[in-house]
């Protein structure tokens, strides 16, 4: 066989391996870390899982901003527990990602250098207490819609992490909605604060579900690998349909003059999303992009001596253990 023939045979072999791989996933078979997988599968999963992990970690920052200023102890313990959950989500996801052969240090490095992306929603500022309500209700609400289908995604460690995450998300959304509801039952000023938060978070929450299907580049492959079970536009419609009645119940107005229930489709029609704003934020020109990454880096750098001290202590303990055994 000539060199080129060998190459072609090889490419054919890989193609048939990939077909078998895709067929296995189509049969609802799971892929585990040490199984053979196409390089593209590994790369795509590292990118998506790490982006997801980074979003959980950066997502703690806008909310942590309000922990010390929560209006009551009840609200404070709830917000603290929620932010702690998000740290946990980040950790489940980082460890799922590491099973694909990338180290935690590399993952952090990609976040800190700006090479890796995280959800654009966390680049908006949290200006008032009502933002804690809006984030729990809308941002965690949209996250749930994104994450539930991932519980049955093809990569085992990702699917298992998602099951754990989804179990914990529902309290996040409820505590947020309860904050909004309480404000809406309060003074006019408090109700205005809730409406203002909804006005500012509504559109970014819709953008959070990703670019339109026309603009979306990875959809087809992601569907095959079950990294996606529904398109971005379908998820967005689902989010709108379920959220509008929730706003009605507490007397808040969705800031979209074109929003209208369509009797024929059984869905809400809605106005144009400002995608220019979305891409600006994704490219790093959002209101808080710089602040978020610098806060994250500062926390990491300032913690270095603690991590080093823990290693030094562990080594010392191990040494004295050895010495004892030698006696």
């Amino acid at each position: 066989m000539s060199h080129t023939e060998k190459k072609i045979a090889n490419a054919d072999q890989i193609r048939s391996l990939e077909e078998m791989f895709d067929a296995k996933i189509a049969r609802d078979g799971k892929i585990e870390p040490k199984d053979w997988m196409p390089e593209k599968y590994r790369k795509t999963h590292i990118r998506q899982i790490s982006q997801h992990a980074h979003s959980e970690i950066v997502g703690m920052l806008p909310e942590a901003n309000w922990i010390s200023r929560a209006p009551s102890l009840r609200r404070k313990v709830a917000l603290l527990a929620k932010v702690q959950d998000e740290a946990g989500h980040g950790l489940y996801l980082y460890s799922a990602c590491e099973t694909l052969g990338i180290s935690r240090e590399e993952l952090y490095e990609q976040l800190h250098s700006g090479k890796a992306k995280y959800s654009s929603i966390f680049n908006y500022p949290t200006l008032t207490w009502a933002d804690m309500g809006a984030i729990g209700w809308l941002v965690d609400g949209a996250a749930i819609i994104n994450q539930v289908p991932l519980c049955s995604t093809s990569f085992g460690p990702y699917a298992r992490a998602m099951v754990r995450v989804c179990k914990e998300e529902s309290f996040h959304q409820r505590q947020g909605y309860e904050i909004m509801m309480t404000l809406c039952n309060g003074t006019q000023e408090q109700k205005d604060m809730a409406q203002d938060a909804l006005n500012r978070w509504w559109w970014p929450a819709l953008m959070m579900l990703g670019p339109t299907d026309e603009q979306s580049t990875h959809t087809e492959q992601s569907m095959i690998w079950k990294l996606k079970r529904k398109t971005n536009d379908e998820l967005r419609q689902q989010f709108i349909d379920q959220t509008v009645p929730q706003a009605d119940i507490i007397g808040l107005n969705i800031p979209d003059s074109e929003l209208k229930y369509n009797n024929e489709t059984g869905h809400y029609d809605f106005g144009e999303i400002d995608w220019e704003e979305f891409w600006q934020v994704v490219k790093g020109h959002g209101m808080c992009n710089k602040e978020r990454i610098s806060a994250r880096k500062k926390a990491w750098d300032n913690g270095e001596w603690v991590r080093d001290a823990a290693v030094a202590y562990a080594e010392k303990q191990a040494e004295s253990q050895e010495a004892k055994q030698a006696v």
Binding site: W36, G88, R307
Partner: protein, 94 residues
């Protein structure tokens, strides 16, 4: 100094009577800290009554590429299963 914390695998017993099950992994400087971190990361809602942590490098795993020779010897041994044996139709309690 800059030395990275090693990786640990976490196993949790959900309640007495059940086995420890693999829950995930985490980084920690030593076993003691691994246990504490595992408590915070994997059992924030009473998911467990007992935790084991094992440093990941101490786990020897089989390779899925060798699954044929590894597990194939068991596939053609139907006689290890009760349904392999012929019995009269009217027999009971067997």
């Amino acid at each position: 100094m800059k030395k990275n914390w090693p990786l640990w695998e976490v196993f949790v017993r959900s309640k007495n009577g059940l086995e420890h099950r693999h829950f995930g992994s985490l980084h920690a400087p030593d076993a003691e800290m691994a246990l504490k971190n595992a408590r915070d990361v994997y059992t924030r809602r009473n998911e467990g009554v007992s935790i084991w942590v094992v440093e990941s490098i101490n786990i020897k795993a089989s390779n899925p590429d060798d699954n044929e020779e590894m597990f194939e010897p068991a596939t053609d041994k139907a006689y290890r299963h009760p349904t392999f044996y012929d019995l009269p139709d009217d027999i009971e309690h067997m």
